[in-house]
């Protein structure tokens, strides 16, 4: 992607944002009637749907059951029309399997797993449009869906992907900023206790820049948390509006 300018001379990115601004974040809870919990989130052009089923009995082999905590079963799937170039298979490739595993590890750290031994919680994430920061959007959608399903968690899990281009840390990267040789770091954390539950970066970055990137990512996660929290409060107040007579 040589020749593509990530940050203009005036300090604006391709979509007009400043380096420390999130994309427009819109979310909705309770999108599906049949799932126990569901949520839809939009980070700019990245759109993700999440459905949560559970806690319910272990499906399939009983040998997978854990005697002291709940089994978290995730699936990360991308719609074939979600990317610019059509994807041949929605899931089953290496990337999706890796993302599935990351999702499970993230939520094992956040859900109060001791409460439902020998049971299973399913988290299914579907990426409808992929425009950068896909995994972070999935984590945010899954958090909202879990809250919608009423599954107890230690804290929200908010995630953000930050990039590094032209010696500047960029918050909430789009696909254009993420591709090429630019570094991109995904961070998922529990915002109130400020514990990090997932940290992932698979590109080359000088150690001196790591602190800047991490600080930007933490700020991004806190900003995302504020939006998610407001969305949950709005949803609950809307739902209880008709209950108070």
């Amino acid at each position: 992607m040589a020749g593509v300018e990530i940050i203009s001379n005036e300090g604006f990115r391709n979509d007009g944002r400043r380096p420390n601004e999130l994309r427009k974040l819109q979310c909705k809870m309770g999108v599906f009637a049949q799932a126990d919990g569901s949520a839809y989130i939009e980070h700019g052009n990245t759109r993700v749907l999440c459905a949560v089923y559970g806690p319910h009995e272990i499906r399939g082999s009983r040998t997978k059951a854990l005697h002291d905590r709940v089994l978290i079963n995730c699936q990360y799937s991308m719609a074939t029309f979600s990317t610019g170039e059509r994807k041949q298979r929605p899931r089953g490739d290496r990337k999706s399997t890796e993302m599935t595993m990351h999702l499970r590890e993230t939520f094992e750290a956040a859900i109060l797993t001791q409460l439902y031994p020998r049971s299973q919680i399913d988290i299914f994430v579907e990426v409808l449009q992929a425009d950068g920061g896909n995994f972070a959007a999935c984590v945010n959608a899954a958090t909202l869906a879990l809250i919608d399903a009423g599954i107890p968690m230690k804290d929200y899990v908010s995630a953000c992907t930050v990039g590094f281009a032209e010696d500047q840390a960029l918050m909430d990267v789009s696909h254009l900023e993420e591709s090429g040789h630019n570094a991109a770091l995904t961070l998922a954390m529990l915002p109130k206790s400020q514990h990090i539950v997932l940290l992932e970066m698979s590109s080359r970055l000088h150690l001196d820049h790591l602190r800047t990137l991490m600080e930007m990512a933490e700020k991004g996660c806190k900003d995302v948390f504020l939006v998610l929290d407001q969305a949950v409060r709005d949803h609950v107040s809307e739902a209880t509006q008709f209950m108070n007579t």
Partner: protein
């Protein structure tokens, strides 16, 4: 599909109701549930549509690509159907669980679209015979399973094809071998497809002595057999398939096919009207305040 547990009493209730032309939710035997249709939901696809039929939720994206025409049909473009039953719809669809159902739906749609009625549209997808043509990858994503997936999917496909914008490509013939293709500079310069003659699927289920259109999950659980038919706007049938485990008398089949034709023609008329209305709305709303749509 999510498991439906029905007691014998409930099944008897449904069967008796159908005989009196009254279903559990108050519909008559030839009524569809409430349809909600929206186009242009996915901006990364050339065309898209989302259909909600009762609890069934289907999202279709159409992407266009240039390829070499099949040798059997050198002057036609191609259609490739791919159905993905996402795990969101039912936990049984996780991993490869939904593949059987997906293959069923995509082969039914492929058969429905292979008739001579669709050839006009396919011919319009050809750029240079034997050399270049458009292929449309129609990707159907099942988001929620509430009964009657075939109908919802086919209506969504027709709406998505209506919404599809194919970039205008001109062939400039260079002296010598292969003619080159030039994409127009204007990103909004595109052409649309003529979808008037493409079929819609109408599924009709035999329950007791009567038959119903658009069966819900509970009704599907107590039906004997279903006929999945593809009907065009002028009442022609392009594909018929019987499924489920019961047997049908030829007389019942004729009756059911007649109902399918009538219902199918009505569906086409209403669908085209709604699509045109929505497009007019979108054109008038351009520039004015953006209304929340899609899943929001």
């Amino acid at each position: 599909m999510a498991d439906i547990l029905l007691s014998e009493a409930e099944k008897t209730f449904i069967v008796h109701g159908v005989q009196d032309d009254l279903r559990v939710d108050g519909r008559s035997c030839t009524d569809y549930r409430h349809f909600r249709l929206e186009t242009d939901v996915v901006s990364s696809a050339n065309g898209s549509a989302r259909v909600r039929l009762g609890k069934t939720d289907v999202l279709v994206g159409v992407k266009a690509d240039i390829t070499v025409p099949a040798w059997k049909t050198p002057d036609q473009g191609g259609l490739q159907f791919f159905v993905d039953c996402s795990a969101n719809a039912a936990p049984e669809f996780e991993g490869r669980g939904g593949e059987d159902m997906a293959r069923d739906i995509s082969s039914t749609l492929a058969r429905a679209y292979s008739s001579a009625k669709c050839q006009k549209m396919l011919k319009s997808l050809c750029l240079i015979p034997r050399v270049h043509c458009w292929v449309l990858y129609i990707d159907i994503l099942i988001l929620e399973c509430g009964g009657n997936l075939y109908d919802a999917a086919s209506v969504a496909v027709k709406a998505a094809l209506y919404n599809t914008k194919i970039p205008v490509v001109t062939a400039s013939s260079t002296d010598g071998d292969k003619p080159e293709l030039e994409l127009s500079d204007d990103p909004y310069d595109c052409r649309r497809l003529d979808v008037l003659s493409i079929p819609c699927v109408v599924t009709i289920s035999k329950i007791g002595y009567g038959h119903v259109v658009d069966a819900s999950m509970e009704e599907e659980a107590c039906c004997l057999a279903t006929l999945i038919t593809a009907v065009t706007a002028d009442g022609n049938l392009t594909a018929v398939k019987k499924s489920k485990g019961g047997s049908l008398h030829p007389e019942s089949i004729y009756e059911m096919l007649e109902t399918c034709q009538q219902v199918g023609m009505k569906v086409h008329a209403v669908l085209m009207e709604k699509l045109r209305e929505e497009e007019e709305h979108q054109q008038m709303a351009m520039g004015s305040q953006h209304k929340a749509k899609g899943f929001l």
